[in-house]
Each structure stands twice: as structure tokens, then as C-alpha cells.
């Protein structure tokens, strides 16, 4: 199967090269058969990559310990579930997995648009094939996952060997999230290839702006959705597995995943400027380019180990390949831009500082500043060494100082932006739209201050959350009211109807609402408490309202590991609440240990208990307990964000009512006191 797999990869490489070279020829000659054959070659390359990936999985499932990659990342006792995840446990598999996910996208695009966008698709095909060629080069010639296990034999030559069992999967990855987090994140990374290909293709082909923007936006949203889910799942994994009580440590690998997310988010907003006003075309194209470049940079940071990280101290030669690829992409983008920049001329200008345009402008500005800050902070050791010769690292305070105010400003814009009118906003409309949200936000701020919150940033954050929530609720209420007047349905039904009629606008609001919930959770971090204590059976820790009593500790042999477990009883007001079982797992195959954190999670706070280790002198267990308020809101908010994105991706329901209504002359009597535009500005967001 290993020969089969590597052969499939080689064939895929050849097909991709044909799709690339033949594609360029097809663009020049416009020969229909050539166009068709290169497209089919592209599809074939994808199918061959699927086959190669499945054959690697087959090696895992059949416990084939003659393959080096399988030996390194699996063993017989490993649960089936984790044998799937073992695919992306190491360098070679991860890169194959990148190719695999990219192929799913490429396959979908080539099939879905085979009879559409005839002018654009040959370019798209060539660009996608180019990206595939790079990864297939790595898969085939640099980091092949199908290498046979070999040891130097007696005569100096390498002898093939088969081991009885493998080294096992690293315990940090033996956690359910690790099965779904990397596919999500990688789907995000790879997904941004599609908008990139469309943007670059449109620029090269000088394709009409509205069309490519529409295509690109949809694919960006899909990738963005995966990226968001991936980042949050990663944060949850860090929280639940690494056992340090936090979810975000500004680790290089985490930062790498945030960077394309920031530019992708900026693009999803600024693209509306182009759709509505024909502005910021250069900016948008470069945002798409930057997002893709950052995706590759992210993969490069993760895989090359250029910046040491908790995730992987991977040191390998693969870095230079990525640097080369990045230079190629950047040069191609730059040349394409310089050659066709007249095609990107702006059609209008900024009119007023209080307008939708300017809110997008500021949104983009600070997202970009955040991106630059995170990028430079992440690369600081490399940059400082190059500039001054001494390697300097910057830590969490640097990232937090810049990004916390940025986050709050973004939250503010989330509330304000969508309600500002295009071009110029009148004072009356400001009053009408913001009077209530401002009052609610301020009152909430005062109440929370009175309740004892003295952390400035958290206070501002909570206050803004109320402000934004009110603006969103008011938007739904206004729209639903208009529909309700006509259909007599309930508010909820009307709100759903409203959302379905303009999925993009209201889906966007749902995403904003999700982000508000995430921010509520993030603001909780200012009130974290923790305590650490060496425990004897019977001794206790008091943390907030919780009292933790260690009842006993035991060890339990399992198939793949031995679990050392603490039985901790939790009391509230001296009444028993529940048992928690923080655990340490010792894995037999490689002697590594894993931490299983015990979390009691409520909307109010998480009680987070870690078996931190043993005191070597007394052999007594050490418990580290954290009280983290509001963390659950982050995960909940994430679910809402993903849901909102899916809503925004759905096509609009044709609204019979609204269409007929649009022909009637006077809507005012029906929507007394409300903005009549709510119903009529369909597609306006």
C-alpha cells in the first residue's frame, strides 16, 4: 500500500504539472480541447491525492509498522478514532493532509464551475494547479509520508525493517478536539487558496469586478468559517488539555492561525465597499493576496520551527521551500498588480467621517494594525536577530497591550457600523438608531461598576457588549415588526422570515452576536483566580465559593496508558456538589504523560482542576485549581458565529410580499415611525 500511495502521489504531481503547463497554453491558444483536458487533469490530480491519503490511512488502520510514518505516530493499542488523527500528527502527514484538503476545494471548484465563468476558470485552474504543485513537490520529494522504515545494516546499506509495534501517538493529541481541530484549521488555511485564485485570476484576466467579488466572497466565508471554528477548537484544546488554565497564550502557532483570520475578516467587510460603492479595489485584492500569503506563512511557521513554540519544536529543512514559495507568490501578485492596476481604479470617494464607509475603513485599519502587531511580535526573535544581532522574544503583555484596545474598538464598530448610512449619516438617524443602545450600554456599565467590577477594560467590554446586543436586537425587532404587520405571524417567525430573506445581512448580525458572546467570555479573564496546593487525602482548598476536598487517589491501567486519578469532591456552602477526577496519564509506549483536566463548567464560571504533579520528596499529589469566570461564553459564542456564517451562506428566500410591496407607492403608513428601508433594502448590508 505504501508503494501504491507514493505512486498515486507521483501521478498526481504529473497531472498537476500538466494542468499548470497545459492551462497556460490553453489561456494563450484558447483551444477548447486544451481547456477541457487541463481541467480534467486538475480533477485527476485531486482524485489521486485522495487515493494517496486514503492509502496512508489504510497503513494506519492495518498497523503496518514497516512504514516509518506509521511507526512514529501510531501503535497497535491506539484507538481507531485516533488512528484517523495520526494522519496529521507529524510533518509528512500534515503536508499530505494540506494537499488533501486543498484537493477537496479544488475538486469542488473545478466541478461546480465547469460550465460557468469560461473566461475566468482557465486562470483559476492554473493558479490552483500551481499551489498544488508546490505541496505535491513537498509530498513527493521532500517529506514523503510513505517512506519505508529502514536502519543501517551491517554492510552499511539501509535495511528495510518491520517493527512489532509503533511509538504511539503523542498524548497531547489523544484528545477528541485534536481529531476535529486540525481539519478545521487546515480547511481554513487551504480554503483561502480559492479566493486567492479567483482574485488573482480576475486580475490577470481583467474580469468584471462585481462577478469575481461575488465568487470570492462566498469562498472566503467558507474558509473563514472553518478558520474561526479551528481557532476556537484549538483554544479549547489548549484549555482542556495543556492544563495551564488558559486558552490563548500568544504562542507562535496560535498567532499564525490568527493572522489570516484577521485579514480575512477585514476582507469580508471591505468587500462591501467595493460592491456598493466601487471603492477600495486595490485594497481588497491585496487583502485576499495577504490572507493567502499569511496562510502559507502560518503553515511555514508551524512546520519549520523557525520560531520555537509549545506546539512543535519541529526543526527541519522544509523552511527554505516555503520561503521560496512565498517569494514566488508575492512576485506573481506584485507583477499581476503592476500590470493591471488600472483595472482596479476606484469609482467613488469617501464622503464623511460618520458613514458606513468610514466605519469599514477604521475596521480594516485596526484589523490590519492588529495583524501587523501579531506578525511582528511572532517574528520578533527572527527580526531582532537579523537587525541587531541579539535574539529578543516578546511575550503576552506586548500582544495584549495592542490587541485588547483593538478588540474593544472593533466591538464598538460592530455595534455602530451596520447602522450607519452609506455616504453620510444624519444626526436624526444617529439619534434614532443609537439612543437606546447607548442608554442600555451606559446603564449596564454603571450597574456592573456598582456590582464591584473595577477592571477598566472588562468594564468597557461588558458595557459595549450590552450596547452592541441592543443594536442587533433592535435591527431584528424593526425588520420583524414590518413583516409581522403584513403577515400577522409571531415576532419569532417574522424574525426567521426576515433572516431568510436577507441571509447575508442578518446572518452577519448573528455572527456579530456570536462575537459579542466571545467578548463577554474574554472579559472574564480579568477575574481569574488560582491556587496551588500539595494535598493529602482529606485536605482541602478553598477557591471562591468552592471547597475542594481530596478524597483519595488511585491508579487505573488502561489499554494504552495508566491513569493516575485524584478523586476530588467539590462542596459549595458545605453541601456536596459533585466529584471531579483530574488525571495524569502515563503512556506505556513512549513514557510520555498527559494531563486530563477536570472542569466543572457553568455559564458563570469554570472550576478547573489540574493534577499538576507530585512532590518528589513526599510523593503527595499537587493540585492546581483555577476559577475562570465566563469561559463557557467563548465556546458558546463560537458556535453562534459558525451558525451565523452558515446562515449568511444560504441563498436568500424570495420574498413575495416584499417584491409586491416594492411596487406599491406608500409604505410609510404600515411602518409608522420605523425606517421603511428595512424591508426594501434587500441585499443591502
Amino acid at each position: 500500500m505504501d508503494v501504491f500511495g507514493s505512486f498515486a502521489l507521483l501521478l498526481a504531481f504529473i497531472c498537476a504539472v500538466y494542468a499548470f503547463g497545459g492551462g497556460i497554453a490553453a489561456i494563450i491558444t484558447r483551444h477548447p480541447l486544451l481547456v477541457k483536458s487541463t481541467r480534467q487533469s486538475g480533477i485527476a490530480a485531486c482524485c489521486l491525492i485522495f487515493i494517496a491519503t486514503f492509502s496512508l490511512e489504510y497503513l494506519f488502520f492495518t498497523d503496518n509498522f514497516s512504514a516509518a510514518y506509521v511507526v512514529s505516530h501510531s501503535n497497535r493499542a491506539l484507538a481507531t478514532f485516533y488512528k484517523v488523527a495520526a494522519l496529521w500528527a507529524g510533518q509528512e502527514g500534515s503536508l499530505l493532509f494540506w494537499s488533501f484538503l486543498l484537493s477537496i476545494y479544488v475538486f469542488s471548484v473545478l466541478i461546480a464551475y465547469r460550465n460557468k465563468n469560461g473566461e475566468l476558470m482557465p486562470y483559476v485552474g492554473v493558479i490552483l494547479a500551481g499551489v498544488q504543485i508546490f505541496f505535491l513537490t513537498l509530498n513527493n520529494f521532500v517529506a514523503s509520508p510513505f517512506k519505508a522504515l529502514a536502519v543501517p545494516g551491517a554492510n552499511g546499506a539501509m535495511d528495510l525493517v518491520t517493527r512489532a509495534d509503533g511509538n504511539g501517538l503523542t498524548p497531547l493529541l489523544q484528545y477528541p478536539e485534536m481529531v476535529i481541530h486540525p481539519p478545521n484549521l487546515y480547511s481554513g488555511y487551504t480554503g483561502f487558496t480559492i479566493p486567492f485564485a479567483f482574485a488573482l485570476a480576475a486580475l490577470l484576466a481583467r474580469y468584471p469586478g462585481e462577478k469575481w467579488i461575488h465568487l470570492t466572497r462566498k469562498w472566503t466565508m467558507i474558509a473563514w468559517c472553518f478558520q474561526t471554528a479551528g481557532i476556537l477548537l484549538g483554544a479549547h484544546w489548549a484549555y482542556a488539555v495543556l492544563g495551564w488554565g488558559g486558552y490563548w497564550g500568544w504562542d507562535p502557532v496560535e498567532n499564525a492561525s490568527l493572522l489570516p483570520w484577521l485579514t480575512g475578516t477585514a476582507f469580508l467587510h471591505s468587500v462591501m465597499m467595493q460592491e456598493k460603492r466601487g471603492m477600495m479595489k486595490v485594497w481588497n485584492v491585496w487583502l485576499v493576496f495577504a490572507t493567502f500569503i499569511l496562510c502559507i506563512t502560518g503553515t511555514f511557521l508551524t512546520r519549520s520551527g523557525i520560531v520555537s513554540s509549545v506546539h512543535a519544536f519541529a526543526q527541519s529543512s522544509i523552511g527554505s521551500w516555503f520561503v521560496g514559495f512565498l517569494i514566488v507568490i508575492f512576485s506573481v501578485c506584485l507583477v499581476a498588480y503592476l500590470k493591471n492596476r488600472d483595472y482596479l481604479k476606484s469609482e467613488s470617494q469617501l464622503d464623511a467621517i460618520v458613514s458606513r464607509e468610514s466605519s469599514f475603513l477604521f475596521n480594516n485599519l485596526i484589523l490590519l494594525v492588529s495583524c501587523i502587531a501579531v506578525l511582528s511580535g511572532t517574528l520578533f526573535p527572527v527580526l531582532s536577530e537579523a537587525v541587531s544581532g541579539s535574539k529578543i522574544n516578546v511575550g503576552a503583555p506586548f500582544f495584549n497591550k495592542v490587541n485588547v484596545p483593538i478588540g474593544l474598538f472593533l466591538l464598538f464598530l460592530t455595534g455602530v457600523g451596520p447602522l450607519l448610512a452609506w455616504r453620510k449619516t444624519s444626526l436624526e438617524s444617529l439619534k434614532r438608531n443609537f439612543a437606546w443602545p447607548l442608554i442600555v450600554g451606559l446603564v449596564a456599565g454603571v450597574v456592573i461598576f456598582a456590582l464591584g467590577c473595577r477592571e477598566m477594560y472588562s468594564l468597557i467590554c461588558f458595557s459595549l457588549c450590552f450596547f452592541v446586543t441592543t443594536t442587533i436586537v433592535m435591527e431584528f425587532y424593526r425588520g420583524a415588526k414590518v413583516i409581522r404587520v403584513r403577515s400577522n405571524a409571531s415576532y419569532l417567525t417574522s424574525a426567521i422570515e426576515l433572516t431568510m430573506r436577507n441571509t447575508r445581512r442578518y446572518g452577519g448580525y448573528i455572527v456579530h452576536m456570536g462575537m459579542v458572546l466571545v467578548f463577554v467570555g474574554l472579559a472574564g479573564v480579568a477575574f481569574n483566580q488560582n491556587v496551588q496546593k500539595e494535598m493529602q487525602p482529606g485536605s482541602s482548598i478553598q477557591l471562591g465559593k468552592y471547597k475542594l476536598v481530596l478524597q483519595s487517589f488511585d491508579s487505573k491501567p488502561e489499554a494504552n496508558y495508566t491513569g493516575l486519578r485524584l478523586n476530588v469532591e467539590v462542596f459549595v456552602d458545605n453541601k456536596p456538589l459533585m466529584m471531579l477526577y483530574p488525571e495524569r496519564r502515563i503512556f506505556e509506549t513512549n513514557g510520555e504523560t498527559g494531563t486530563m483536566v477536570a472542569i466543572y463548567s457553568t455559564l458563570r464560571e469554570d472550576l478547573y482542576v489540574v493534577y499538576a504533579g507530585q512532590n518528589p520528596d513526599t510523593n503527595l499529589p499537587v493540585i492546581h485549581a483555577y476559577l475562570n469566570p465566563l469561559v463557557k461564553w467563548i465556546w458558546f459564542g463560537g458556535v453562534i458565529v459558525v451558525f451565523g456564517t452558515l446562515v449568511a451562506l444560504m441563498p436568500n428566500r424570495r420574498a413575495v410580499l416584499v417584491l409586491s410591496g416594492a411596487q406599491q407607492p406608500a409604505p410609510e403608513p404600515l411602518v409608522h415611525g420605523m425606517t421603511p428601508s428595512v424591508t426594501y433594502r434587500e441585499g443591502h448590508d
Binding site: 498524548p171 519541529a314 529543512s317 468610514s358 529578543i392 522574544n393 503576552a396 484596545p405 510520555e592
Partner: protein
Amino acid sequence: MKKQAKFVVGISVIVVALACLAWLGYGESKTYYHTIAELQSLKGAELTHRMRVGGTVAPGSIRHFTGRVDFVLEGEGKSLPVSYVGSDPLPDTFVDKSQALVEGRPTDGRFVAEVVQAKCASKYEAAPGGTVATSSTATK
């Protein structure tokens, strides 16, 4: 032109404010990477920097005391005595001959570390091009 000026002012205010914050955060959290050999040639203000030093834990050198753990890091033929004073238990990967990264400041000939990261020498994957070695962190 007046409109444009407003935008320019707005944008500059934001960028300058954030740059100031970044500078503050940088001053607060910058940490210098040094090798053990370099550490001995540092002088004056350089010695008061917060720094990170990497090396291999000398076999048999780990000794536990109340409130601190002493060990010796080796690298490039030099050695460095370290006292770990952080409150978290040391990571499981921290054993004899493991590679460790310590963060803190040198004081009176010893390196006082508040953070220790360690990764175990991976068994099979020591070859170049090999990958994921796990690491864990202990922080103060």
C-alpha cells in the same frame, strides 16, 4: 481636502496610540535569548534583562528543595547552575538529559528561572527532518 484631513488625523491618532501601546508592551515583556556561553560574557545592564537560555539538563543534577529546584544546564561545553523558583510543578518532560529552556534573570552566579520549558529527546525521530517532540511548560 478638509474631509481627507479628518481621515488622516483619525488614522494617525489610532496608529500612533497603538504604536505607543506596542512599545510599552515590548518594554514590559522583551526577553533576550542567550546561549550559556554568551551569558558569561554579558556585563552591566545586559545582566538585568529578562532572558531565555536553552541547554541540556546535566544528568543527576536535579535536586529538589523547599520552594525551589536546582539543576545544571549544559551547552557548548559550558554549564550553568539554575534555580527554578516558579510555583508550578516542573513539566513531566523535564528529566536528566532533556532539552530545557529556562526564563528568568541571572543573580549571583546562578540563573533564577521563573519558567522552565522542556522537551524530551525524541526516541525514534532524532533524525533530521523528524518532527513533533512534545513539550510542556511550567510557569510562575
